[in-house]
């Protein structure tokens, strides 16, 4: 059994969902996503027993491209993030009635397929293909099933697409350049290349553009809030929960090992940019009227911190970044889902039109509260583990970084609690707020359970990812 099984399963799942018909599409998608989770857990088991679950075969002879999927701890962790979130994301759609549900869920599964491919690929070209491929489904998901005025949505979505596409094209150019040097796209060979300082600089920049837009770092983030707002919540979850992590993962997997010297040279600038994003995102989030937009900016702030951890380029930074990626993936999905749950009942995303929900649904309020707290990295939640590790790594680089990055602790609490207060607390709302349904409850409980469990016992994840991060660090140093 190797990792291709996972890809095949999800691809078949997408096709099967497409042909299953609108009525049962969501269930079929759920089935396949749960199956994928099962398979990935089985793969994890095999991996931890030392079995080789990688896959490699010649794909194109000229230029020399291998269809190579390498599973190391880092990849598996990201794959598990994807396969764990996908069922939840699919399940969270149970409360919506999508037109053409079969297309919708097929696209969701297809996107999971592409993202898993991105996480696993160890051949630059294959990686790039999966990377781009993941853009297509989300484009359609946001375009067709999104909300709000169609023209504005189109504008936002196309901007997103072109913007991210633009960034990644430069990455492609860099890959081609590297291929000319190495004669292959294989990760191990590429990272072993001896590149001059100038070459590294430009390659680093090309990759940086791709990742800075995807992650996004300021000032490349302008697509984010609008798309998050306009996309259907499931799309937003896919984007914020997994797709952002693709950018961060890629920084670790590709950018840093490929151009370590350039990374070191530009380290301070980029960490500065990332941390500026932390502060800026938090501040902008303060005055957002739209719940999803607020969450989008909070996401901007959080990924800024993760990115800073990545570029800290030490053990703690990288490890913390990975932990925080996983934690943030879960929590942001949960938060967006909470927004969706409110929307289903109140048909609004404007915070000022909510309020007083807690009285009606204490259960929902508590779960939302826990998610909010996890998002502000309360100790005991998984997010704290990540955030602490990242901030610590920053402090070992430069104490100023840790202080600036640490403002997220204050500002994050500021805007999140402000949001929670106005959205949930206050006088009981006149409108009825039905209690959470079973499917909604499952999603919340799963996410919260995950966050709390690994908040106290992150050891399995740390042990999973550490060896591969060490390998990356060997190339970076």
């Amino acid at each position: 059994m190797d990792v291709t099984l996972l890809l095949i399963l999800l691809f078949i799942g997408a096709v099967a969902t497409y042909f299953s018909g609108n009525a049962i599409a969501s269930k079929v998608a759920l089935f396949f996503s749960v199956a994928a989770l099962g398979v990935s857990l089985a793969l994890l088991n095999q991996f931890s027993q030392g079995t080789d679950i990688s896959f490699s075969a010649q794909w194109i002879k000229n230029p020399n491209v291998l269809f190579a999927l390498k599973a190391d701890g880092l990849s598996i962790a990201m794959v598990l993030l994807t396969t764990a979130l996908t069922p939840l994301i699919v399940l969270s759609g149970f409360g919506n009635n999508f037109n053409n549900a079969k297309n919708f869920y097929a696209l969701v599964l297809f996107m999971a397929f592409a993202m898993i491919g991105t996480f696993l690929a160890s051949d630059g070209f294959v990686y790039y293909i999966f990377w781009e491929l993941s853009l297509i489904p989300i484009y359609f998901i946001a375009l067709i099933w999104g909300n709000g005025d169609a023209e504005a949505r189109k504008k936002a979505v196309i901007k997103f697409f072109i913007y991210t596409f633009a960034g990644s094209l430069f990455m492609l150019a860099a890959f081609i350049y590297l291929y000319q040097k190495a004669g292959t796209f294989k990760w191990d060979v590429l990272v072993g290349l001896d590149l001059s300082a100038t070459e590294q600089f430009w390659i680093f920049l090309a990759f940086f553009l791709a990742y800075a837009i995807k992650i996004p770092l300021i000032p490349f983030h302008t697509w984010q809030a609008n798309v998050y707002q306009k996309a259907p919540t499931i799309g937003t979850m896919l984007l914020s929960g997994i797709m952002l992590k693709m950018g961060l993962y890629s920084v670790l997997r590709w950018q840093l090992p490929l151009a370590p010297n350039a990374a070191k040279e530009l380290q301070y600038i980029i960490i500065g940019l990332a941390l500026a994003g932390v502060v800026y995102g938090s501040i902008v989030a303060l005055k957002q009227k739209d719940l999803k937009k607020l969450l989008a900016y909070s996401s901007l702030a959080h990924v800024g911190l993760i990115a800073a951890g990545c570029y800290a380029m030490n053990m703690d930074g990288l490890r913390g970044a990975v932990l925080q990626m996983i934690a943030h993936g879960f929590v942001i999905v949960g938060l967006f889902f909470a927004a969706e749950v409110i929307y289903r009942r109140y048909e609004t995303r404007t915070i000022s039109e909510m309020g007083g929900i807690r009285q009606q649904t204490p259960k929902f309020a508590s779960m939302f509260m826990i998610l909010v707290l996890a998002s502000v990295a309360l100790p005991g939640t998984f997010n704290f583990v990540g955030e602490f590790t990242v901030l610590y790594s920053l402090s070992t680089e430069n104490m100023v970084f840790a202080v600036i990055g640490g403002t997220t602790i204050i500002l994050g609490a500021f805007y999140m609690l402000r949001m929670f207060q106005h959205a949930m607390l206050g006088e009981t709302n006149a409108k009825m707020f039905a209690d959470v349904t079973v499917s909604e409850g499952i999603v919340f409980v799963a996410i919260i359970g995950f966050l709390l469990f690994f908040g106290l016992y992150p050891k399995p994840i740390i042990e999973l990812i550490t060896p591969s991060i060490q390998e990356i660090l060997v190339h970076v140093k």
């Binding site: 194109i60 002879k61 375009l143 067709i144 189109k154 196309i158 596409f165 492609l172």
Partner: protein, 455 residues
């Protein structure tokens, strides 16, 4: 050689069929004949020989491109039955002209002598003039025909002038002699004036800046199936020929010449893409997109030794995507007096399959992975960088993202806007053509080696 004869004979058979009142048999017979010819052509793969005093040369290049042309023609002719429904009495003319056009194409890639090249390009051009102006009661079609004719003849004059100069310098029309001369130090300098004039003429045929102005007008005015022919078969043919000519005449290309190619390439990509942004007529838009693709394709000239495979792949990807796209365009715009993008509103609901096919083909043209258009661009850029032209790679990359905008404009029209009318019935052969074309496109995307390793 056999291919050329077979195609010409097939053309004559079609004409005869009309005389014997076998009109209904024309298209099936043609398709069968073309498929047989395709088989015949493919069997010649791996053979390198020349026929009739080196008039026709057969090698892998020839066979590969001829097969591609035949495939494209099969699709185009399959669409003819429905497209020319209103003018059934002339179906034999249309089909035979297309077949002769194909013969011209084949001779253009398999010539061993400039005479064959010139005749081939003229057969192709004249056939296209006719097809462009064939809708005789339509003012637009007239205008397109006239514009194309005037500019095309002008370009033919330039090419002819170039050929004359080359002949003057070499004393022969034979490609082998010319190749030798091009590599010889004693060759008279005007040889290169001739070469550059031929180059300009070919740049006109593939519609690159600044020789591109005809393309949008003619594409828009011509009947849609003709536009499809022009933008797929004709452009691909011209590009292959151009490449072949350069291999023969420009073996050791000068830096200045390369620079001209680079500038033309960048200008074409940029102008094509930027102009396409504001187009509301899909045929016009595809014309500008074709211009930008032409800009991409001429990149292949910068790496003449290695880029054959890449160019072939690109032309195949582009041609197949074009066929698929135009199939949908023909279906959607049937019975409409324009081809505006509004016609595509709500196609995603009216006819998901057709919308999906158009989406896929546009994505392929935009260079989104897994569709072969992406691989095509990638392979070409790879070759270009191999030749050391980083600036062109960057220009190509920037242009790729501009292009996304207008392709996606159509896509989002299909999926977000509400449909204005009831879905029309799709002729069976349209489905077959569109699905086959896009299927082939994706298939070569999944297995690029199938084409790349031919050379």
């Amino acid at each position: 050689m056999n291919t050329l004869i077979a195609i010409a004979v097939l053309g004559v058979i079609v004409l005869l069929a009309e005389i014997f009142n076998l009109r209904k048999a024309i298209i099936p017979v043609t398709l069968a004949g073309l498929i047989a010819t395709l088989g015949l052509t493919v069997t010649e793969f791996g053979v390198t020989e020349s026929h009739y005093n080196n008039m026709i040369k057969v090698n892998n290049f020839t066979v590969a491109f001829s097969s591609l042309f035949i495939v494209l023609t099969i699709f185009l002719i399959a669409l003819s039955a429905d497209f020319y429904q209103e003018r059934a009495s002339k179906i034999s003319d249309f089909v035979s002209i297309k077949l002769f056009l194909l013969a011209g194409s084949v001779s253009m890639v398999s010539f061993g002598n400039l005479a064959m090249f010139f005749l081939g390009i003229e057969v192709l051009s004249i056939a296209l003039y006719i097809l462009a102006g064939s809708d005789r009661l339509n003012v637009k079609s007239n205008e397109a025909g006239m514009k194309y004719f005037l500019m095309g003849s002008f370009a033919s004059g330039i090419i002819l002038f170039g050929i004359a100069l080359v002949y003057g310098a070499v004393g022969s029309f034979d490609m082998d002699m010319i190749y030798e001369a091009s590599n010889s130090a004693t060759t008279v300098d005007w040889f290169y004036i001739g070469v550059s004039m031929i180059t300009v003429g070919m740049l006109f045929k593939i519609a690159t800046v600044p020789f591109h102005f005809w393309a949008p007008d003619v594409y828009e005015g011509a009947p849609t199936l003709t536009t499809a022919t022009m933008s797929t078969l004709a452009k691909v043919t011209a590009m292959a020929t151009f490449f072949k000519l350069n291999m023969a005449m420009n073996g050791n290309m000068k830096f200045e010449y390369e620079l001209v190619i680079v500038i033309v390439s960048i200008a074409s990509m940029t102008v094509g893409n930027i102009m396409a942004l504001r187009q509301n007529n899909i045929k016009r838009m595809l014309a500008f997109s074709g211009i930008s693709h032409a800009g991409f394709m001429v990149m292949a000239l910068l790496n003449l030794q290695n880029a054959t495979g890449s160019l072939f792949y690109y032309t195949a990807a582009y041609g197949l995507a074009g066929i698929a796209a135009f199939t949908v365009v023909i279906y959607v715009c049937k019975g409409k007096d324009n081809e505006n993008i509004e016609n595509f509103n709500g196609l995603g609901k009216r006819n998901p399959l057709m919308a999906g096919i158009l989406t896929a083909s546009l994505l392929s043209m935009a260079g989104i992975p897994i569709f072969s258009g992406f691989f095509a661009k990638f392979f070409l850029l790879n070759q270009v960088l191999n030749a050391g032209w980083l600036v062109l790679v960057i220009a190509g990359v920037i242009n790729s993202m501009i292009a996304v905008y207008y392709y996606f404009k159509v896509v989002s029209a299909m999926y977000t806007k509400e449909a204005t009318e009831e879905p029309a019935k799709v002729p069976f052969e349209f489905y077959i053509v569109a699905v086959l074309a896009i299927g082939l496109n994706i298939a070569i995307g999944l297995f690029p080696s199938a084409l790349m390793d031919l050379f």
